[in-house]
Symmetry: C2
Subunit: 229 residues, 2 copies
């Protein structure tokens, strides 16, 4: 066998990089380690990502936030009793009401971010004009117009929705991260926190329900407001 043509591809590289991030953390993602995992010299990666690690990071973010791929994977898992060789059809238009479309998008996006929480710091630098981002924005704008918003209020609502979902994932990842041993336990200076945590331990929080409650509140709030600001 030849040492060339090791069958490298951008998708294989991104998948393996994500595997390292999920397993060892973002800090352990090294070009050399990634090369080892791919059974290739580290420098071979630069042929597929000439701009280096930053470009690889961008590709990872696009991969994680590619809603179409996520939906296709879910559909393939559902329809495994239909093993014909046909390509997946053009995705059927979603005819449900605006709020159900937004709730589905939010749930899917949140799931994708949580599944790869080790890459969250990369998501922060996500380019707003990438194709998956524009596709999500288009979905949001169409939904909020159907809800009755117009003009700047539509874009404001879309921004608020994206902000909430991103922030909620960060909040949850923080809350479920391993506690530092020397952390100050809430004492008399924080009476409300103490009382509320006595009723509900931080470890017992239902993050899915909390996320849904906040999302409902946000959607109700942005669509109840007058159409202009």
């Amino acid at each position: 066998m030849s040492r060339n043509n090791a069958g490298l591809s951008t998708e294989r590289i991104v998948t393996e990089a994500l595997h390292i991030i999920d397993g060892l953390g973002l800090g352990k993602l090294t070009m050399r380690r990634l090369g080892d995992a791919l059974q290739v010299e580290a420098m071979a990666i630069y042929h597929h990502f000439p701009l280096g690690k930053e470009q690889l990071f961008d590709a990872i973010v696009e991969f994680i936030t590619d809603a179409d791929r996520i939906r296709a994977e879910a559909a393939a898992a559902d329809a495994d009793a239909e093993p014909d060789g046909t390509e997946p059809d053009e995705p059927a238009p979603d005819n449900r009401p605006w709020d159900q479309r937004l709730r589905s998008w939010a749930a899917d996006y949140r799931t994708a971010l949580l599944r790869h929480s080790g890459a969250l710091t990369l998501i922060i630098n996500r380019r707003p004009d990438t194709e998956p981002a524009l596709r999500a924005l288009e979905l949001h704008c169409a939904a909020f117009e159907e809800a009755g918003l117009r003009g700047a209020a539509v874009l404001d609502a879309a921004a608020a929705l994206d902000s909430y979902v991103t922030g909620a994932v960060i909040h949850q990842v923080r809350a479920t991260s391993i506690a530092t041993p020397d952390a100050p336990r809430p004492d008399g200076r924080f009476p409300h926190v103490v009382a509320l945590r006595a009723a509900q331990s931080p470890d017992a929080v239902d993050h899915d329900a909390r996320f849904g409650a906040g999302l409902d509140a946000l959607l109700a709030g942005v669509t109840a407001a007058p159409g202009h600001r």
Copy 2:
């Protein structure tokens, strides 16, 4: 002069590190570069942060999100016509209604994050049980109880508020980051986006107004909901 006792302190180190982050970006914050800026060997930093760079990162995050220091600085700038040597008094209790307290907190926190947007990736890993974090949570819980919420709904509302503010800063930093030259311009596949951007260019967005609108919507939504979920 001796080569020892260079006057290093954790505060000086953190301040200088933040200066490098603001000026050159987080990626350029190096122990060696930080040492140069402090006129000291890089290894001297380890005497004040024995756990290394991660510990320094935590200190930077605490510094940025220390609401008390921010408020004290603002107060000192206001009261510069009162140059007596007295220490700043115990902060007066804020007797305004719950929503004004939350709006002030949100504005201050957002300002602090935006001022050091290069450190945003560090903020993601912010420990939820640090003292500034608990202080903010206490403020949130007291306000939402005053608004009529009870039990889990109070903590849910506090989580939603923190999520929104954090996410909104990330959204804004993304939106105002330099555009990639090869970014796909919105075309016929994104009709709503195209139409809305024709009316309001992305560069013309009033991010302060947008933030306020979303915050108002969120506060209205979480307090309009029934007290339990």
